[in-house]
């Protein structure tokens, strides 16, 4: 087993009397793309700030590359690139000047490297424009470029898909997968939107009200939902309970129900319903996304 590159152990954080994080622990390994999922206000950004040393840790430890963020801040942070909340840019400077400023903090970033990164995020045509003229999506790209400047081994992105169009999101996914594969970068992405991440994340951590409620890799997660889900619209629900006595089903709205079943089962169910005097308008297999699966787990978008 490889050593984890990011280790969060039992993180706790209070603001006043309010406990924001409760015993948050997880690990990241090189090449991981970790989706950090939770509704608004769950403590995603706070966790990121704790990892980056932007906020003090009440109790617990964060280590990056084996260096403690509190004690060895400079060494720990030197391998990290991040966007926190939103890209933080100097609006009065050009995109290139913004990147150059960041590059100046490291002694080994050449102008060539810089231009390579600009190409990677697809800003080469507008890089000499002032950031104030950029669209939100372009700022997001520039923010990612900023995070990549020091060729980090850990990349932390807070809601990076904000403001990106579908094309941009697709490009970002491709880029992140490439970074994780080619450079063995560990990538941490927070989002309230699991559907954006499920296609390329290797790991998922779910946080709710400051506590981690699920840490798993994506494969095992998907296995839990092996059974396909079917949706049926019926002419009536009368007598339904008696007919489907041995199946779990869920009433969506009106006369529409959903249930998880094998192909064989659904064949039997349809027959039983028809024989029981309930007509069926349609029956279709629905793709149950991870997001929907997790909404049950996270209890929806409840902000506490």
């Amino acid at each position: 087993m490889k050593e984890p590159i990011v280790k969060c152990e039992h993180l706790n954080k209070h603001f006043g009397k309010k406990q924001i994080l409760k015993d948050v622990s997880f690990n990241m390994y090189p090449g991981d793309i970790l989706g950090f999922i939770g509704p608004n206000g769950a403590g995603k950004t706070t966790t990121i700030k704790l990892i980056l040393g932007l906020q003090s840790i009440d109790s617990g430890h964060v280590s990056i590359n084996g260096y403690d963020i509190k004690k060895d801040f400079e060494k720990a942070i030197s391998q990290v690139g991040a966007i926190v909340e939103s890209p933080d840019l100097y609006m009065n400077l050009t995109g290139y000047q913004n990147l150059k400023l960041i590059a100046n903090y490291y002694h080994d970033v050449t102008d060539e490297n810089l231009m390579k990164i600009v190409k990677v995020v697809g800003l080469e045509k507008r890089i000499n424009d002032k950031v104030s003229k950029y669209s939100l999506g372009m700022r997001q790209r520039l923010g990612i470029a900023q995070a990549l400047i020091n060729s980090p081994s850990v990349l932390i992105l807070d809601e990076p898909t904000n403001g990106l169009d579908p094309e941009g999101i697709k490009e970002l996914r491709t880029l992140l997968v490439q970074l994780a594969h080619e450079y063995q970068m560990a990538i941490f992405i927070s989002s309230h939107n699991l559907s954006e991440l499920e296609s390329f994340c290797t790991k998922v951590v779910i946080i709710r009200s400051g506590s981690i409620i699920e840490t798993t890799d994506i494969k095992s997660l998907k296995q839990k939902h092996e059974l396909p889900t079917y949706e049926l619209e019926l002419s009536t629900k009368r007598g339904l309970e008696d007919i489907l006595v041995s199946y779990d089903y869920e009433v969506k709205e009106g006369n529409i129900i959903q249930l998880d079943a094998t192909k064989n089962d659904i064949k039997n169910i349809i027959r039983m319903l028809v024989e029981g005097g309930i007509d069926i308008y349609y029956c279709k297999q629905v793709e149950m996304s991870l997001e929907e699966a997790f909404l049950k787990k996270t209890g929806g978008n409840v902000i506490e």
Binding site: T45, K49, L52, G53, L54, Q55, S56, F73, E74, K75, I77, S78, V80, A82, V84, E85, S86, D88, L89, Y90, M91, N92, L93, Q97, L101, I102, N104, Y105, Y106, H107, Q146
Partner: protein, 486 residues
């Protein structure tokens, strides 16, 4: 060095800040304007009313209304006619000619005598003799040798001295003796001065050397009038001032340098530290107030704090940048003053030394302008630095640019009131108050301060304590600060 990179970036950001560049341009515009206005107001010449056409017209009309043959009018007639004659004679010579000053002293008397003879006495012999004197006078003037008059003056003083000395020997009357001794001393001073005039070849006129001669005379004469064994506080002060006048006049005469002319490029440059003190404070506040708070407001602080530098280093780089920004501002103002002064008053006076009178040692100090500017800046430094650091601290702790601008400026405004109240009531405990400590210039060059509890050492110590205290609080706070959502 990693700090180099931080400082480099901070400077880059500062010099790309529009507000900084705009403020600098406004400041320099202000310097140019102040210089221009002050040079304009000094160029307004005050035409002597005596020589004006209005006065001549008035005299003419007055004379016309009088009848010289009437006994009641004749005295006034003679007086006005003599004035008119004197003025006409004066106007024969160009502006600033030495003759004018001689005429004003001697010409009027000669015309009075002549006109009296002509209109009152009506005695041909007297008329002829006064006319002769007058013609001789004019002829001497036309010969254009002022030394003739100076030598006349000198001979007059020498004569008075001989006579007075003789009188002193002859008399026993104590009160008379005092008077005679007084006359003797005064005349000796006059003799010394006229000898100086001849030695140094100073024609009569209104040049600064003439002013120096008269200052020297009045200073010396003033000293004679005090009883040195029994002096009141006020008299002691007057004596100090008189000594200063004498020393300065002597210096001007010895070195041919006008040290009291404020309308020169050099003199304007000399006082650059005090004249534009508020500008430096504003530049300092301008640079410091947004140094940290703007990074917080725009969120860019996060990108800065996740770079491999401790927060201490980051804040140090920021403070250092403030100092560089301030220095840049000060140098710009000095350079601007140098150029403007040169353009308005001519570059010729640059390089002349600065001359100061030290009341403590009763001596004149001479130093180069550069050194003087350096020392006065050092004296003003606590005020500029304390206000800038206050602004920087507020910017860091409160993350609010408006507060970081307004609070230091209010402090500056209130300091004037607080200080004047403290001095008025001579409040001792206020000697520890920052606004009482931050001006070191009041202690330099033997100046006497109006507040009896302060001293240079105390001021330096207290200013340092406030300065270091603010920075310590600032650094501790910044190190521990949680970066909240922005």
């Amino acid at each position: 060095m990693s700090l180099n990179r931080l400082i480099h970036n901070e400077l880059y950001k500062l010099f790309h800040r529009k507000s900084f560049l705009i403020t600098m341009i406004i400041m320099l515009g202000l310097v140019i304007l102040i210089n221009y206005i002050s040079s304009m107001s000094s160029k307004i010449s005050y035409d002597n009313y005596m020589y004006s056409d209005q006065n001549i017209e008035y005299l003419n009309s007055e004379i016309k209304s009088l009848d010289s043959t009437k006994a009641s009018d004749v005295e006034r007639y003679v007086e006005l006619q003599s004035s008119l004659d004197t003025i006409n004679l004066v106007k024969k010579y160009p502006d600033g000619a030495w003759q004018r000053y001689i005429i004003l002293v001697q010409g009027n008397i000669l015309y009075q005598a002549y006109n009296t003879a002509k209109y009152v006495l009506k005695d041909d012999a007297v008329i002829a003799s006064t006319k002769k004197k007058l013609d001789d006078f004019v002829a001497t003037l036309d010969a254009n040798d002022w030394k003739v008059f100076a030598n006349q003056e000198k001979a007059g003083y020498e004569k008075t001295i001989t006579e007075t000395e003789a009188a002193i020997k002859a008399t026993d009357d104590k009160s008379k003796l005092i008077d005679l001794n007084q006359t003797l001393a005064t005349t000796k001073i006059n003799l010394e001065v006229i000898n100086m005039r001849l030695d140094k070849n100073i024609p009569y006129g209104n040049s600064y050397l003439n002013t120096a001669l008269s200052s020297y005379t009045s200073g010396k004469t003033q000293l004679l009038s005090y009883d040195m064994n029994n002096l009141s506080e006020e008299q002691k002060q007057s004596i100090k001032e008189a000594n200063r006048t004498i020393a300065e006049a002597k210096f001007e005469l010895d070195n041919n340098i006008d040290i009291n002319d404020t309308q020169t490029a050099n003199m304007k440059l000399k006082s650059v530290a005090t004249t534009f003190l508020y500008l430096y404070v504003i530049i300092g506040i301008m640079v410091a107030s947004s140094m940290v708070s703007e990074e917080f407001n725009k969120g860019t602080i996060k990108q800065l704090l996740i770079r491999p530098f401790t927060r201490g280093k980051i804040l140090f780089a920021k403070y250092f940048t403030c100092l560089v920004g301030l220095l840049f501002g000060i140098l710009c103002v000095i350079a601007c003053q140098y150029v403007m002064g040169g353009i308005l008053y001519g570059f010729g006076t640059y390089g002349q030394p600065v001359v100061l009178y030290n009341y403590e040692t009763s001596t004149l100090i001479q130093m180069s302008v550069l050194k003087y500017i350096g020392i006065t800046f050092l004296g003003a430094l606590p005020e500029i630095l304390l206000l800038m650091t206050l602004s920087f601290s507020i910017s860091t702790v409160m993350a609010s640019t408006p507060s970081a601008v307004v609070i230091p400026i209010l402090t500056l405004l209130f300091s004037a009131i607080i200080n004047s109240l403290t001095i008025m009531y001579q409040l001792e405990y206020m000697k520890f108050f920052p606004t009482m400590c931050w001006d070191l210039n009041q202690f330099f060059f033997g100046n006497e301060t109006s507040y009896k509890y302060d001293s240079l050492n105390l001021s330096i110590i207290m200013s340092s304590i406030y300065f270091i205290g603010m920075l310590i609080i600032d650094f501790i706070y910044f190190k521990k600060k949680d970066i909240k959502n922005i």
